[in-house]
Amino acid sequence: MLTKLAINESIKVILCVERLISMSPRWKWKGAEAKALAEPVSKTVSELQSSLAQTEASGFLSSCNVLLSVEPEQADLLDRCCFGRTVVSAEKDKRWIKLSFEEAFFLFYKLKCIKISLHGRSLENEVALWRSMRSFKTNFAISYKAYSHLRSKNWIVRSGLQYGVDFVVYRHHPSLVHSEYAVLVQSISGNDRLKVWSDIHCSVRLTGSVAKTLLVLYVNGNVNTENMNMPLCLKDYTVEEQTIRRWSPELSREDETRT
């Protein structure tokens, strides 16, 4: 429910999530759905969490990502729940994974299973990491809120750049199911998207051409700039979801009769 609050800084995150015309997920092969049911995402994430925590997996922060060093089995777990991208290397006993800020912060702050260092020093508290990431990436706070909102519902979240959006979400691993939604993140204070009709046409058409539905996610928060310096501000944000779909009158008629 949205009321006009006296907000110092209201942040809107618009996640445009596209969906297929049919309401059900498109599984990629015959046994895919069963396989997905047998191994829920939450379970794999749990396994990942304990594994990483156990080995005290650690990575280091750069200006555009976090590079995480893991064991081969852990790399496999990361892949199964789609965190990060593997860096191809000749090393046999170690794997390097490139994590986006959102992914890294999620593992660090939410799942508390990795350590991150900056300039050779391990960052103990989340505030320092939060601030660093915010300094490197504009709208990180909004982007992260959107990311963690989706991950918390156990959806797989990946970059949507190739579709002209911010994220794409899957019900399960991309090898099992097609993505239903494309996510576009928008901040009211930053450069707005979907402000004019041609933006709507463009985004809906683009995501429709790859069989996804546009879902708008609004994040509202009663936050002032001071609070935003700490990840605690995240709990003050609320998230609302909204789909945008184009309707074709020609295709929708029952065509009983024409009067």
């Binding site: 046409h201 879902l215 945008i244 074709s248 020609e250 295709l251 009067t259």
Partner: protein, 256 residues
């Protein structure tokens, strides 16, 4: 079922409902599709004070899905009058005389946008009507149950009907419009239906809304959705083409 002996070219969609590129719209010979109109047979009289036409002669079954009934008479809004005139089904007569108001004057009336319908609204009306949908103005009943209303002093019934016309409807509209909102609900749209009855139209498939130059804000959508039970469809008209978008609140399920 009324036979339509005219054809309208509508842009056919490909790719999950998207119109063809403009390139394909132009016929190579530059020829316009042949339109055949039946010579207008229904007649209605334009009543300036109402901004509506009172139907005097009805021909054809189209009146089961056009016009509102008040005190046993049928009245049509500017968009209905203009559409029917365009397709040659209706002739509009002047208030004072029996001269047929030419299409040009009707277009002017529409352009003035003083009768509750803007040109954008009309583009949508015309487009959907051409596809067979049934449209009525949002907030205005097709017919009122207590239809018989007479004035004691024997004043012209049409004037009385004009007042009563907006009676209940106006109040509801006013209440509904109290919340400031840039977006407006304009038409109730029903799927094509040969058994459509004005006395019990049922719920519309959706309500066509207009938000003007910009897409509707989340707040405006909320305001409208609170007032209207039916799904909302926001119309955008540009280059004479109407597009329809739905903005729906959902709750992404929590997966196992």
């Amino acid at each position: 079922m009324e036979e339509k002996d005219w054809e309208v070219s509508s842009s056919s969609d490909n790719e999950a409902g998207f119109p063809n590129d403009d390139d394909e719209e132009f016929h190579s010979g530059g020829s316009v599709p042949k339109l055949q109109f039946r010579v207008g047979s229904s007649k209605a009289r334009w009543i300036a004070e109402l901004g509506m036409a009172e139907v005097e002669v009805k021909r054809g079954k189209l009146w089961t899905t056009t016009g509102i009934i008040r005190s046993g008479k049928t009245y049509c809004f500017i968009e209905e009058a203009l559409y029917l005139s365009e397709i040659g089904e209706l002739q509009i007569l002047g208030h004072e005389d029996d001269l047929v108001i030419p299409l040009k004057d009707l277009y002017e009336k529409m352009a003035e946008e003083k009768s509750g319908c803007s040109w954008d609204n009309y583009e949508v009306y015309r487009y959907l009507k051409g596809l067979g949908y049934i449209l009525g103005r949002n907030g205005i009943s097709w017919t009122l149950k207590d239809a018989a209303i007479t004035r004691p002093n024997g004043e012209e019934e049409s004037a009385c009907a004009g007042e009563c016309l907006e009676d209940k409807d106006t109040v509801t509209k006013l209440l509904g419009d109290m919340q400031i909102c840039d977006a407006k609900a304009v038409f109730d749209v029903y799927l094509p239906n040969s058994r459509f009855k004005k006395s019990s139209p049922g719920e519309p498939s959706f309500v066509a809304c207009f938000s003007g130059d910009s897409p509707p804000s989340k707040e405006d959508i909320k305001v409208l959705q609170k007032r209207i039970a039916a799904p909302l469809m926001f119309c955008h008209v540009a280059q004479g083409r109407a597009s329809f978008f739905s903005f729906s609140s959902i709750d992404l399920p929590v997966l196992p």
